[in-house]
């Protein structure tokens, strides 16, 4: 009798614990307000939903080896994670996940993001900021004949495949250079088409390099017609040209197109390769809109950085200073009127919104990525699709449970009712376990849950069938129940263990949604072991103690 009391107490205690862990509480999440999704605190059951159920973005980033080799990948990745995390935090996402996966990937999960392109840009931008003085020594003009010769040489030796290879490589570099917006990508592809036609012409003509560029409006600035950008980049990628660049100088493309007459031009700048200061000294950045320049990002330097900046700019009065972000000159370099201290601004250029400036300010504050990253995998689920999935999944669950309940009660009568009660506990226990272990509920997980309802009652069926057999052999109700549980036990344990083993393998080798499935399955089977064996047994014992000497059992 006291044994029975403890059994009941245990079941009730577990139920109370489950109720507590499932008790609705305040969480911050993305909810629909009118037509828009916004972050808000809502009170709901604290079951963590996967990205496929609540909508959001999953990103796998890896080191982009095409832009130079990285000596210590693991360490670089660790630093990159810190930067990415800071940026995400500033971006404003509830419960983001940023973690290392293996030793070459960063997994970023952003629940409830509805502008994936923007989020991706923020995460991926290297944001390496440099201030470089433009060249005023005519360095490029001096080497132009040499460049022409090199281009001609390579053109004469120019086997078609090598040129093609170069084109492909340049294209990749350009994509990075020109990724300023959607328009430029399109422009880029047309420019490429044009230039591939021109390639053969330019290569045979003399002065191939110099004829593509013309002097800009101040020393160190040059213009390249938009259609020649790819061709010139191909030349610049030639190893000979790289080697022949004037020492201490580098060429950097400008970010914007300049229209001179009807032709669009892209500026390219010859700048000192040593930056007078880099983004590391930057401590603050905020977007602003000012009358003449338009959208700008105003930045503040640290005291030490400010001192250096003042000293350097004092040396370069009347010079032009290029503000270079990710090897691209932002806006037109301003002329240095007087020494600049701790404050300055970056002009975003034409057609940029305040949001672009906001994002730039954000990545500048968070710091530069130590390595270039590329997107290896992206999954983006709209919030509406997630909501649909939940609705459908829950509907399927309700119907599945309804059908199972119907079969159980029709077939097993009173015992079926006991099994249904146990099934109710099973659902609560399973959900509580998921909530307690902070497991993520995914769509396949929901499916696994529905399925596990079917599997959970299997244990009940095994036991009930066994009890029926024992009753048929003329055993008393009490003995039949005891024997039924005892004999069914081995089969139940064996089947549960094999399923848990399979689910564990699935968890180990699955990703995201599939892991959710495995977790739900394991939680479900554990709960069903308890409810089918322990809870139903207790119900029977309760029933037996109430109706002493029961001769028949409704089963």
């Amino acid at each position: 009798m006291s044994n029975l009391k403890y059994r009941v107490l245990l079941i009730i205690a577990l139920l109370a614990a489950s109720a507590w862990s499932l008790f609705p509480r305040k969480v911050i999440e993305r909810v629909k307000r009118g037509d828009r999704y916004v972050f808000d605190t809502v009170t709901r059951v604290p079951l963590k939903r996967g990205l496929d159920l609540q909508g959001g973005m999953h990103l796998a980033l890896e080191i982009d080896d095409s832009k130079g080799t990285v000596p210590d990948r693991s360490e670089a990745l660790d630093r990159a994670i810190k930067v990415v995390r800071t940026r995400i935090d500033e971006f404003g996402v509830a419960e983001p996940v940023v973690q290392k996966s293996g030793d070459s990937q960063i997994i970023v999960e952003l629940p409830g993001i509805d502008d994936p392109q923007r989020a991706m840009a923020v995460v991926q931008k290297s944001a390496f900021l440099e201030f470089q003085i433009t060249d005023k020594t005519q360095a490029l003009e001096k080497v132009l004949p040499r460049f022409d010769a090199i281009v001609k040489e390579s053109g004469l030796a120019g086997k078609v495949p090598s040129v093609l290879g170069d084109t492909a490589k340049a294209d990749k570099g350009l994509q990075g250079l020109l990724s300023s917006g959607k328009d430029s990508t399109r422009k880029d592809s047309t420019a490429k088409n044009d230039s591939t036609k021109k390639d053969s012409l330019a290569l045979t003509a003399g002065g191939a390099f110099s004829k593509l560029i013309q002097q800009g409006q101040f020393p160190g600035e040059y213009f390249v017609a938009d259609r020649d950008v790819t061709t010139l980049q191909n030349y610049l990628d030639l190893p000979g040209i790289q080697a022949a660049l004037p020492p201490g100088k580098v060429l950097r493309w400008g970010s914007d197109t300049v229209s001179l007459g009807a032709t669009p031009y892209r500026p390219i700048y010859m700048v000192d390769s040593r930056p007078i200061i880099t983004g590391e000294s930057l401590i603050g950045a905020k977007p602003n809109q000012v009358p003449i320049e338009g959208t700008v990002v105003e930045f503040t330097l640290s005291n030490e950085g400010g001192r250096r900046f003042r000293a350097e700019t004092a040396k370069h009065i009347r010079d032009y200073m290029a503000i270079v972000l990710d090897q691209r000159v932002m806006g037109r370099p301003p002329v240095i009127q007087s020494a600049i201290g701790t404050r300055g601004q970056i002009t975003m250029g034409q057609g940029r919104s305040l949001q672009d400036a906001q994002d730039l300010a954000l990545v500048l504050r968070a710091g530069a990525l130590p390595v270039p990253l590329k997107v290896a995998e992206v999954r983006n689920i709209g919030a509406s699709l997630g909501a649909d999935s939940i609705r459908n999944g829950v509907r399927a669950l309700v119907i599945a449970v309804g059908l199972v309940v119907l079969i159980l009660i029709v077939y097993y009568r009173f015992s079926g009712v006991l099994a249904v009660l146990a099934l109710g506990l099973y659902v609560v226990y399973t959900m509580a376990m998921l909530a307690y272990f902070n497991a993520v509920l995914t769509l396949p997980g929901l499916a696994g849950f529905v399925l596990s309802v079917g599997i959970a009652v299997d244990a009940n069926v095994l036991i009930f069938e066994r009890i029926r057999e024992e009753l048929e052999r003329g055993k008393t109700v009490r003995t039949a129940i005891d024997e039924g549980f005892r004999h069914a036990m081995t089969a139940i344990v064996d089947t549960s263990v094999t399923t848990i083993l399979t689910a564990a393998v699935l968890y180990q080798y699955g990703t995201g949604p599939v892991q959710g499935f495995a977790v739900t399955l394991i939680a479900g089977i554990t709960a069903s072991l308890f409810t089918a064996i322990f809870v139903v047994r207790t119900f029977y014992l309760l029933w037996l103690s109430r109706s002493r000497g029961a001769q028949t059992l409704s089963i």
Partner: protein, 340 residues
């Protein structure tokens, strides 16, 4: 007391040759389809590529989307209706598109979106889901899925070998292997896309089909202890008959749950539910018609120690035919090869 299939005495094992022919035929069909129509229809998770689910404001012709994509240079993308006339999935997974993603997985999706916006206007559609996977990730995932399958089988085998006699373990694992092969043939024949969720379904099946066999074998083990005189053939038949009500009921309920998934859980999970529903049928079938004859055959090939027990493999008419016909089917059923 409501009873179904109570106290039956069917001779299930008698039909094993028909059963073997049926599943071998089905597997051959799957193999033939594999040979004729070529590879498995892998999802972009495994091949790399881009999948986009688009929701338009009004019904739209799939041809319009195709021509738009062609113009954007995304050729050979597969466009499918998804549930309704205004929802579509676009799959770009040919080699060329995947190669482009080596430099960044998002590029194709961006191009598709630009082209659609140009053609249909920015507010006429919504991208409700995007998945883009680089080629390296896909290859890694494929390897992981294969490892998972092998490991799951191995772990089950080891557990069964510990819990049961090795004969039972081998028969159970081979029959589970059979289920997986038949299900793969089914997936191939219906041209179901093999995604991670479908792999999860197959793995669940691995566990589920094992369950079914275990329950019958558990009964066999018990009956063998009680009754040392009857031939194994009879013990098997009796055990199957005794567990029949349970099998039918459990399968009915699991199937009910699976059908609820199939019809009510929405489009995304449907492939999972189809595979699962078929798998439940196969699991039921195989635990009776594959696992049991296999056990009988193993028992026949490697008879148990005479001192250990007297349940001789077969004292039945089929005794002399069994090994001969077995040899005939062996080559057609790959999972039997392992038992030699």
């Amino acid at each position: 007391m409501l009873r179904i299939l109570h106290d039956t005495r069917f001779d299930f094992i008698k039909w094993w040759r028909w059963a073997a022919g049926l599943t071998a035929g089905f597997m051959l069909l799957g193999l033939a389809s594999f040979a004729i129509r070529g590879g498995v229809n892998y999802s972009i998770e495994f091949t790399g590529g881009t999948l986009m689910q688009l929701q338009f404001g009004k019904a739209i012709d799939a041809g319009d989307i195709r021509s738009t994509l062609d113009r954007a240079g995304v050729r050979g993308a597969e466009i499918q209706k998804f549930g309704s006339d205004s929802e579509f999935t676009v799959r770009a997974q040919n080699r060329q598109d995947v190669a482009q993603q080596a430099s960044g997985a998002e590029s194709v999706a961006q191009r598709v979106q630009d082209a659609l916006t140009k053609q249909f206007g920015a507010n006429s559609y919504r991208v409700v889901r995007t998945e883009a996977v680089g080629p390296r990730v896909g290859a890694e995932l494929r390897r992981n899925a294969a490892i998972a399958m092998l490991l799951a089988s191995l772990v089950t085998l080891v557990y069964l070998a510990i819990r049961f006699e090795w004969r039972f373990g081998v028969a159970a694992v081979l029959s589970t292997g059979h289920d997986v092969l038949v299900t793969l043939a089914f997936i191939k024949l219906l041209h179901i896309e093999v995604s991670l969720t479908v792999v999860a379904a197959i793995l669940t099946l691995l566990g589920y089909s094992g369950n079914d066999t275990i329950i019958i074998f558990d009964r066999v083990r018990e009956n063998l202890k009680k009754d040392r005189k009857s031939p194994l053939y009879d013990v098997l038949n009796r055990s199957i008959n005794e567990t029949l009500p349970r099998s039918v009921l459990t399968h009915a309920m699991t199937l009910a749950a699976t059908l609820a998934l199939l019809f009510f859980a929405g489009e995304v999970i449907r492939p999972f539910a189809i595979v699962m529903a078929f798998g439940i049928f196969v699991a039921t079938f195989s635990s009776v018609y594959v696992a049991s004859p296999l056990l009988l055959w193993i028992e026949h090939r490697w008879p148990r120690n005479v001192a250990e027990g007297t349940n001789k493999a077969a004292v039945r008419p089929s005794r002399t035919e069994l090994p001969a016909t077995e040899r005939g089917t062996r080559n057609r059923q790959p999972e039997r090869a392992g038992s030699r």
